[in-house]
């Protein structure tokens, strides 16, 4: 396949740290260290070759300073853009731009969190505001719940269709030995689990786990001489329209309607070319919204699209093949894990959950309360 972006950046190394529940005493930086070391080894590079650093954190407001100090690196290009869980797909976009501009050559994108061991709860990244605090929404789930309620109202999306998203994710997780939640899960289990913010239950909601991840990006030219077949970044784009849910113009239509088409345009391909789809599924409604907004189905048809196992293993479209934030891992911010799974699918390393002959992957990050949307289209080594 020939695309427009023959000489852009490539992903040459990916890795997770320990995942799940790492136990007391481990710091987010320890997980960053594990993941960075493993991803650089995957690439066949050393830390001293990293000149571009990209990270975001809820623990460290100056994330790159802590990260570089811990890793013992001295980057000449540094970007800790934080737009929530979508940040790492944005970092991929920024890293590619920096590499193409000659500002750095080896970019390390890295993340770590001990959300589960530290508190068993999400560390809230919502600010205080006199316009929302008095009403005590549960951040962030109440915002997603209101999006789900509105989608159900406008398009007739059902409670069962939301549950189908969680069940499909769980069935993928059964095929991923690293997935955190692998016990049986039915549509009824999802609907009847503890209500958190109606219509969303605990099983409509992402996991709270520990975990870290790292991605190494370099130029297409340099990538040709490294140990792994390069995964090509064909196109990426980002968009954000609001911060607080009360400022979101239409709760059923996200800024993915902008980031998606721009990423596809840069790649010179469209949704029908995509073999495997990695969407940020913080809540079940996300998967439905993003399949619509990215053009895999029409607006309002996401509910039927995910039903009857169509996005589960053996279904029509391979979506969230690692088990997603719903069943694989979700350490506060999840976006980097989308990239890791997409790269592995395109390298053909996914074993029981491998999408046969996967050439094109779409990665879509979400941050805040449906606030920031970042899309990347990746190509297998064969597309180069």
């Amino acid at each position: 396949m020939t695309t427009k972006t023959a000489n852009t950046a490539a992903i040459v190394g990916v890795a997770e740290s320990d995942l799940g529940e790492v136990g007391p005493g481990v710091t987010p930086l320890d997980l960053i260290g594990q993941a960075a070391t493993a991803a650089l080894a995957d690439a066949g590079l050393t830390k001293d070759e990293v000149d571009g650093l990209f990270s975001a954190s809820v623990y460290y407001p100056m994330a790159n300073l802590n990260t570089a100090e811990y890793l013992g690196i001295q980057p000449t290009y540094s970007d800790s853009t934080n737009m929530g869980g979508s940040s790492f797909v944005a970092h991929l976009n920024h890293a590619a731009a920096a590499i193409e501009a000659g500002r750095c050559e080896v970019a390390l994108i890295v993340y770590g969190s001990i959300q589960r061991s530290a508190s068993g709860r999400l560390v809230s990244s919502g600010e205080s505001t006199p316009y929302e605090d008095p009403y005590r929404p549960r951040y962030p789930v109440s915002a997603y719940a209101m999006a789900a309620a509105r989608h159900m109202h406008e398009y007739g999306t059902t409670r069962e269709q939301l549950a189908e998203v969680a069940v499909a994710a769980r069935q993928w997780a059964w095929l991923n030995p690293k997935a955190f939640a692998r016990d049986p899960l039915t549509v009824d289990d999802v609907i009847n689990s503890r209500m958190v913010s109606s219509p969303l239950t605990a099983r409509d909601s992402c996991l709270v786990t520990d975990g870290g991840g790292a991605v190494v990006v370099t130029s297409a030219e340099r990538a040709r001489h490294l140990r792994r077949p390069p995964v090509r970044l064909l196109g990426a784009a980002e968009a954000h329209w609001h911060r607080s849910i009360s400022a979101m113009p239409d709760l059923t239509r996200t800024a993915a309607t902008e980031s998606g088409p721009r990423a596809f345009a840069r790649a010179g391909i469209g949704p029908s070319d995509v073999d495997v789809v990695l969407l940020y599924d913080a809540f079940t409604i996300n998967t439905i919204l993003f399949l619509e907004d990215l053009g895999f189905c029409a607006k309002g048809e996401g509910g039927p699209f995910v039903s009857d196992g169509r996005i589960a293993p053996g279904g029509k479209l391979a979506v969230n093949t690692n088990g997603g934030g719903l069943s694989y891992c979700h350490p506060g911010m999840y976006g980097i894990f989308l990239i890791i799974e997409a790269a592995r699918q395109l390298r053909g390393e996914c074993g029981d959950r491998q999408t046969p002959g996967a050439d094109i992957a779409l990665v879509h990050g979400n941050g805040g309360v449906l606030s920031s949307q970042t899309t990347a289209v990746l190509g297998s080594p064969a597309t180069g």
Partner: protein, 126 residues
């Protein structure tokens, strides 16, 4: 220029609430409503924002029943008839009975937990 025009937007908003009213802004340039209050119009960039008192009538845009350990309560987004949306809660009815499309009326009530006035809504038809 009135004293209110030179006060910080959040301060004026609170002064409205203290007097039992819901304040919002209208941009003198593009005539669109602005909420939450701020120093520039997010629609056109205009700086001449005029305070108005909302009539307090609106429609539920979306709603959720929040469940915490010992309580359930409503959180809603309400579209005011003046053309702005705000987060709020609908009271005087069970939270699960709040419906999208429901007409609601403003009530500024005392929030005992926060010891301050809060803008809530009640169903327009009992």
């Amino acid at each position: 220029m009135s004293p209110a025009a030179t006060s910080p937007p959040a301060t004026v908003f609170r002064e409205f609430l203290d007097s039992g009213r819901l304040g919002f802004q209208i941009c003198a340039s593009c005539e669109q409503s602005v909420f939450y209050p701020r120093v520039l119009c997010p629609h056109c960039g205009g700086q001449d924002l005029r305070w108005r008192e909302s009539a307090g009538t609106g429609t539920v845009y979306s709603t959720t029943t929040v469940c915490r350990r010992n309580e359930t309560y409503n959180v809603a987004l309400v579209d005011l008839d003046e053309g702005f949306r705000m987060m709020t809660r609908v009271e005087d009815t069970p939270p699960e009975d709040v419906r999208i499309g429901m007409r609601v009326l403003l009530q500024v009530r005392h929030d005992p937990d926060r010891s301050e006035p809060v803008a809530v809504f009640v169903p327009a038809e009992a």
